[in-house]
């Protein structure tokens, strides 16, 4: 869950491209042939968790607060990554967005020497639901795709998507 420090207001059928920061975790992976084993995963950002949704059906997720940027902000790539998110309001009413929840398991993460990134979209479906989806391409050219700990095939989940049903 990325909570926006400023609420974003979107007009009916409007769209906005924003840049957000997210916490980076570094994995140590042992590779032999086609098999990989994760030795350790660590992060320099102190983790914090939150419950998204109601007590019974909600999801416990990693929490991170981020400013909303219109241009890619500066970030220490060992700690924070930069996400480009295109938010589309598919409804005919003005909508306020204060948080976005992504399925971290299906994250398509890219890295280069000075940047860790992902590209995603968020579609506002109604007054309660937003669908977030990762893009298969980095928003900055020349980046390498990071190792996926969980492949989509093994999860049988809808492709890269997550539907936020507990408000936004």
């Amino acid at each position: 869950m990325v909570e926006l420090t400023r609420t974003l207001l979107l007009p009916p059928k409007g769209s906005k491209t924003i840049f957000l920061k997210f916490p980076v975790e570094i994995g140590v992976i042992l590779t032999k042939g086609n098999s990989n084993r994760i030795i350790d995963v660590f992060t320099e950002i102190y983790p914090k968790y939150a419950l998204y949704g109601d007590l019974k059906e909600g999801i416990l997720c990693r929490y991170f607060g981020s400013d909303v940027h219109v241009k890619p902000p500066k970030a220490d790539s060992s700690m924070e990554g930069i996400a480009k998110v295109v938010i589309k309001n598919n409804t005919v009413a003005w909508r306020e967005v204060s948080k976005l929840v992504f399925n971290g398991r299906m994250m398509k993460l890219y890295y280069s020497k000075d940047l860790v990134s992902f590209s995603a979209s968020a579609r506002i479906l109604d007054d309660e639901k937003v669908e977030t989806k990762f893009s298969d391409k980095p928003w900055k050219k020349g980046q390498t795709k990071s190792f996926e700990m969980i492949t989509q095939r093994s999860l049988s989940l809808p492709a890269n998507r997550f539907t936020m049903e507990g408000g936004y």
């Binding site: 102190y46 419950l51 416990l60 929490y63």
Partner: protein, 273 residues
């Protein structure tokens, strides 16, 4: 050759064929119901429970088939039923508790108020559910004891399942001195909660002055934590709050009482010899 005219052990072949057909039909119906039930309950019950219930169905169908078949082979079913009925009453009285537990077990399996692995409080026994069998439920307490509770007790008791919700709330009451700044204390407590990863950001923790006590200003702290981490968070945070408050000059007071004397109290100080 007319097979119907033949007899086998004094029983006409046609009757034997009828018995075989009924037995076959019972087997087919029993198997079909078992398969249908297994498919229906695959995601709702464990394999062991499905096996027990399908077997019960199977025997019930064969029992009905036997009642149908007995008159065909010349056995008077009514006399057997009467004898069986009396026998059943005797057995029923003898096995009343077992039967009660069995029925309760089946209801527990269907209703599913608890699952294996859940942390529950049943009849003042708190622990993790190890197994739910037809007659009894086994709980492993946090002291390491295995407690077997008859299903009738489980069914009739108030069950608290701590694993149904994703998060659980706990609370402390922290008393500070009257001369301490309560706003500052609240701020320190909030910062301490913020530093703990599993003290959830949402639902938000609550920190407020609950009451002005006899010896202290009582601050109530309510924190949500994931159900799996709840105990650890509760254990760790209380001491951290205490330490952080003391580091900032805010102390938990001892119980105090001011005594006023109606007449002047004359006191003198004795110097040490």
């Amino acid at each position: 050759l007319n097979l119907i005219d033949y007899e086998l052990g004094g029983v006409p072949i046609n009757k034997i064929l009828l018995v075989l057909i009924i037995a076959l039909a019972a087997a087919v119906i029993g198997k079909s119901i078992s398969l249908y039930f297994t498919r229906l309950m695959k995601k709702r019950m464990t394999r062991d429970h499905i096996k027990i219930i399908t077997k019960a169905f199977y025997f019930l169908i064969f029992f009905i088939a036997a009642i149908i078949v007995l008159p065909i082979v010349g056995i008077n079913a009514s006399s057997l039923i009467v004898a069986g009925g009396i026998f059943a009453i005797v057995i029923g009285f003898a096995t009343q508790t077992i039967f009660g537990n069995l029925v309760s077990g089946l209801f527990l399996i269907f209703e599913r108020p608890i699952k294996v692995g859940d942390v529950v409080n049943i009849d003042s026994t708190i622990g993790q559910v190890e197994d739910i069998r037809v007659i009894s439920t086994t709980i492993r307490t946090f002291d390491g004891y295995f407690v077997r509770i008859p299903n009738m007790t489980v069914f009739n008791s108030k069950i608290t399942n701590f694993f149904v919700n994703k998060a659980r709330r706990f609370e402390y009451s922290v008393g500070i001195r009257y001369k301490d700044d309560a706003d500052k204390a609240i701020q320190i407590i909030k910062e301490t909660i913020e530093e703990h990863p599993f003290a959830l950001k949402y639902p938000e923790p609550m920190v407020f002055v609950e009451q002005l006590g006899n010896s202290s200003v009582d601050i109530t702290v309510k924190i949500w934590a994931p159900f799996s981490e709840w105990y650890e968070v509760r254990r760790e945070l209380l001491w951290k709050i205490k330490v952080n408050l003391e580091e900032n000059g805010i102390f938990v007071p001892f119980p105090q009482r001011e005594v006023w004397f109606n007449s002047e109290l004359v006191t003198s100080r004795k110097e040490d010899a």
